[in-house]
Symmetry: C2
Subunit: 765 residues, 2 copies
């Protein structure tokens, strides 16, 4: 837990130079534009604690899997988004002395992330060993308006001396990943160019043994210089070395004078261009930047952010800290994923760190999708669905590797390209509920958008493949005379290889039923499309549906009659029944303080598991059942996943436990700003940020879709005066403004609509 | 499955040069003396497929643990017996051309392992590119009479030319482990010496980050040369390089003449000497070898083997293949472990390969102990018990790491120095039945030897610590109103993290009961010793024993009333009940053909698990129960562990399933000779070799200890005429000779005794 970020409604502010917090701030102050992103590393050299991070979305390397003991079925590689060229670097020297804050006296240090307009500012004064003092201010952004461009404005002022400032802006592809499995470097140089004021490098990811495509990235820079606001021409000393290009030039400043270096950067990749045309694309982009100039580029960038906030802002009244927290979450989600490219998805750390390798988890479907559904144009959420559709064949291959047949699909636990990249058997092979979340996302999307066409187009094919998996994954128990699902891991990863995890089994049956429903819909409405699909995927409707029906009606769900609750898994009540409140404080978090076996046999729940069922399928259970299950499972939940509190928050809100709902919300809304888990230096928890948004919109405001209609059952946490948020629903953009007295819903754009607030119709015009 | 070893009653014979089988033969033809061992690598250079292996028992390195995802409680290192200096190397050149069988025409190649006398012979003719043809014969052994010495007699004959033979005998410490986690070399040179006819190197294991002691080993050689049988003096060219010393000298041979190089090697280590006195010890040992000479050394070595066979031979009449198989097993067990040094134990591959790192498993207690108990002086088996006693404090620390308190001990799954070195959570933390096997070994030893003094001396302290572990490892189930043991892995590693594994729970309760019994015994017979122990280990007898009693009487054992059998674990009958015979052949072994999750949720059993209970505690169950359990579990067992068939063989024999008993026996008796599992090149399955012996003695001959008396219920497999074996029982050595007509038991040495054969007393005089 840290408390050094200054509270502000629209800005993230760090004041004072805190080297021990630098890696933390590098994560928090990260910027990105959906296409590439950058940790808040310094432009000038810094020899203190730092983790360099420049990431190009979708550009990955298949790192050889490392395990203690190989199990059959493990994936051979772990695809990870790799650290790409350093494009921000600008070495600065004063009369030949290199500026490195690790060796300077630093004052007036300030970092400001302007979330409203999407740029990062950093300013400070530095006194070198020679006693010379300079003032530096840098402003940078990754352009949302032209996602091949980044720009830096780097101002240097001679504060107490007259002398020579030497700039060495560079592009450096000689970068590493801190978490590389075998300490490899992943880039080979292909080509490079340095001319006066312009340079680029093209590098290619190393060959690999797994038949995975190699990527090329060209990173270029275009430079411009001013002195006291006037353009200055320069004749640069041009340097090239392996994977490195730079310009070097100097400016003489008299005391009090200022020089500004503009560094425009381009990042283009073979994801979007033929390898042959990359350098031309790079130079064209640099030309665009040069033509526009910093001010115009920034203006266009700000315009996009204005639009994003108009769609997605949440305003909290009377609580600046909470306001900053939720906007930070929304800002990060918006700069991580834009829906522009179907090959991209949302890594757990976004562009803020390399941990988890930028891969896609079920977080996307279960947590992030609702945010994008409600705050972005419809196609953004749809792209997330299509991403999985594009991976369907890989998911079928993946299931086949594990022994499933006839077009059954098991989507990977983590992936970039559709290939499973996780290598703990209890998760890779057993945490199969992810398959259900992918089906649920289709349901969720159609429920929200009414885009039933998506079924015939792509959705049904995915659903059938998933239903086929579940159908083979269960077996008939002669003892129970029911279908059972053995050897699974639920969302609660503090249980492994259990039998009949309620959430997984319930979700599986839901998948079967929903798939049958969708088959009926498509058969009725798009018979021809259905016929084609059925033929292509060799769908034996009669036989297959027959079995699905049988499973749906004869599935085993562990249940305790005495407590009148579903059990998380078979024999859950054999565990020692102690509660989180009974644990000594020093034992928490248990994942850090208890051995793994002790965690496994304990009753403690890492994250919503049985309760995730109630979150997904609330309409299947009455309020009493909600309360019984919440009251049983909540006291046993340690919330050691950042994805957990939001689900409990939403359920607590529904049950009228307003205080608890707000407490859960607090656990995630400022998770990274205050570094609750002491791990923000690895990167921010991007996917769980969507949970904060859900806690407000689905929790406090009680937003649901019921019968094709938006409904609300709002309350205002007592710490707040009120709150308001934007919701896109089909053709309308509305503003929902909730105060303690009333709820005011207004139409921002689009068609008028009727919503239901506390059970009453409400016309929004 | 291979079939190239020629059958012979006392010898292992390979004829013809088979480069593709070389690594396999290197394992099979390995030699050792309990102190060090050597794979059957060639003395001269060989650039074909080969795995160099020279191992010094107890000299290990803690290699940094490699895992995919770190779990709390994992050990930091994996201690492994490392490859030590190559002491056999002799480069040979003919008129300057190096002899390397990979580049020669090879004829009359033959390898013979003389098991009766314990030495390895290899002979061949090689034609070099020049057309020059030599005949070579090498004889080598690791002396059983002086376990610091090895010796090689290396004869070279000029077959079709006159010319110069150059020998370069060397010692090379620049060796690697093929399975090093991080591709490191583990040795640093400390010192070396080369003089005429003598050289040595002292090397030290690299420093490590784990506070584990470093070892020094000095490996030396002493040389002697003859020509046509006459001693020849030589003036060697002496070479030293990093971790390498050699002598080089030449002999002129006329066509048909022969030269013989004697290379005596010494291996001494800091296990047995101060590091400062290692080189002196080495030189003293070389002096001993020189004084004795090859013939005398070999004679003394053979004398020890004669003695070993007199104690441990099994003779099979009418089946040379079976005879060779069982003698190979006995030979390997005898050369792997001699009981001379309490710090040593029996690695799964002995001295025949580096796989599994030479560590100790529960194999020692459950499989090997009975062999040594019955075929070696009593102190040999006792040393195996004391080995665990010496590790008791580490086992208590190990349990403490996992959250157990008050002197509870969890012995490691694999270890060299007492520290847990296994890093799969489902085994490391959960395959805890090993703790019970260590307690059972104490019982087994005392039952066999009547050495009750061992309890007060050491055994009881171990038993109490183990009982304390079980007492904390169970918890009370409010649902079952019984004690349960959650989250365990039984011997059947095809199940992980199951609840109430019958074998483990039964064994745990047995441990509690036996410990209580032993406490009573020691209290009664050695009250003072008991008082001291109780005080030292803070034994709260009343409270602790009270709980043990409670657990003993209220333990949950999964049971099916319909089938009238104990279930391997809770809900075992939920699994799809198919049998091994129903599996397609191509699916076997499932560990190679099925994904891990499929194996886990299948009914298939890797190795005796529930049936292991019947093997250990047969007196607790009647014949009908034996039959019901065997008939249920056997058809579901795939025997994909080499430790499995022997237990099934013994039970089948008991049940009168003689044919099946013999089939199981065949699965292990020639496992390595015929390379059943296609993995002998990694090393031989040393620990499961004891199972072959058990199949004969406990299975076919039905040997048991009942009421302090040896009993037999023998039958002769129909493929055999008869069989005979030696048994040491307390002060007596007997020969048990079983033919189809009768069983003849004679006293070889020691006191006359009464044994029971088929229920009838039989005086052995």
């Amino acid at each position: 837990m840290k408390n050094y970020i200054h509270h502000h409604e629209w800005k993230i502010i760090e004041k004072g130079f805190n080297p021990e917090l630098n890696k933390n701030s590098e994560s928090v102050f990260s910027i990105g534009n959906g296409r590439f992103g950058q940790r808040a590393n310094f432009e000038e050299d810094y020899s203190g604690e730092s983790m360099q991070g420049s990431y190009v979305a979708g550009v990955y390397y298949p790192d050889k899997t490392r395990v203690g003991w190989w199990k059959n079925g493990y994936p051979e590689y772990f695809a990870k988004v790799i650290n790409s060229a350093n494009w921000i670097g600008i070495k600065v020297a004063v009369d030949g002395d290199n500026v490195d804050l690790h060796h300077c006296k630093v004052s007036r240090f300030q970092r400001v992330l302007n979330m409203k307009e999407g740029y990062l500012e950093r300013s400070f004064q530095a006194t070198l060993e020679s006693g010379k003092k300079i003032g530096i201010k840098s402003t940078r952004f990754c352009s949302m308006a032209d996602d091949e461009l980044g720009a830096i404005k780097y101002e240097v002022k001679a504060l107490n001396f007259s002398g020579e400032i030497t700039f060495t802006p560079y592009v450096d592809f000689d970068v590493v990943n801190e978490d590389a499995n075998y300490d490899e470097k992943f880039w080979n140089e292909v080509d490079k160019k340095v001319s006066n004021g312009l340079a680029w490098i093209t590098a290619q990811t190393k060959d690999n043994d797994f038949g995975v495509e190699t990527f090329q990235v060209t990173t270029g820079m275009q430079l411009a210089l001013t002195k006291n606001g006037e353009a200055v021409s320069f004749k640069a000393r041009k340097r090239k070395k392996e994977k490195f290009v730079s310009n070097q030039f100097s400016v003489d400043l008299a005391e009090g004078e200022k020089t500004t270096l503009y560094k425009y950067a381009t990042i283009v990749s073979s994801l979007n261009y033929n390898k042959e045309s990359l350098t031309a694309a790079c130079e064209a982009a640099l030309e665009r930047a040069k033509d526009s100039g910093f001010t115009k580029m920034l203006k266009e960038h700000k315009a996009i952010w204005k639009q994003k906030w108009a769609n997605s802002d949440v305003e909290i009244k009377g609580d600046v800290s909470a306001q900053q927290g939720i906007r930070f979450n929304i800002f990060q989600l918006n700069q991580t994923y834009t829906g522009e490219d179907v090959r991209l998805n949302i890594g757990p750390k976004g562009f803020t760190g390399e941990k988890y390798g930028g891969v896609t988890y079920w977080d996307t479907e279960a947590y992030c999708l609702p945010f994008y559904l409600s705050t972005s144009p419809q196609k953004v959420a749809k792209q997330l669905l299509v991403y999985r559709y594009e991976h369907l064949q890989k998911a079928i291959e993946n299931a086949a590797k594990l022994g499933f047949v006839k077009g059954a699909a098991l989507y990977p636990m983590v992936t970039i390209n559709g290939e499973e990249c996780h290598n703990e058997w209890e998760i890779t092979f057993e945490e199969i509920h992810r398959n259900g979340a992918i089906a649920f996302a289709i349901y969720d999307y159609i429920r929200y958008t009414n885009d039933h066409n998506y079924l015939a187009e792509k959705g049904l094919e995915v659903l059938i493949a998933i239903a086929r998996f579940w159908s083979q994954r269960v077996n008939w128990s002669i003892k129970k005379e029911e279908y059972v699902m053995l050897g699974v891991t639920g969302p609660n990863e503090f249980e492994n290889n259990v039998n009949n995890n309620f959430y997984t089994s319930y979700l599986a049956v839901w998948c079967l039923k929903y798939t049958m429903e969708c088959i009926e819909y498509v058969k009725t409405n798009q018979a021809e499309a259905f016929g084609k699909l059925a033929k292509r995927i060799k769908f034996k409707e009669a036989v297959e549906v027959e079995r699905w029906k049988d499973i749906s009606t004869k599935m085993h769900y562990p249940y305790d009659n005495e407590l009148d609750i579903y059990l998380q898994q078979d024999n859950f009540l054999d565990k020692e029944q102690i509660l989180v409140k009974d644990l000594p404080k020093k034992d928490l978090p248990i994942v850090q303080n208890w051995s793994w076996d002790r965690i496994l046999r304990s009753v403690f729940i890492k994250q919503a598991d049985t309760l995730q069922t109630f979150y997904f399928f609330e309409e299947d259970f009455d309020m009493d059942a909600h309360r019984r299950h919440y009251d049983f499972y909540e006291p046993r939940t340690v919330h050691e996943s950042s994805l957990s509190p939001c689900v409990h928050s939403i359920l607590a809100a529904k049950l009228g436990y307003e205080k608890r709902a707000y407490q859960f919300y607090l656990q995630t809304s400022r998770l990274d700003l205050d570094d609750y888990n002491n791990d923000t230096e690895d990167g921010c928890h991007i996917t769980s940020m969507a949970g904060s948004w859900m806690s407000i919109v689905k929790g406090f405001a009680g937003m649901r879709i019921e019968n094709d209609c938006l409904t609300f059952k709002p309350f205002v946490p007592k710490q707040w005066k009120g709150y308001a948020f934007k919701i896109r629903f089909r053709d309308s953009l509305i503003n929902v403004d909730i105060s303690k007295r009333k709820t005011n819903i207004t139409l921002e754009s689009g068609h008028p609509l009727t919503v239901i607030v506390n059970g009453k119709d409400c016309e929004v015009k």
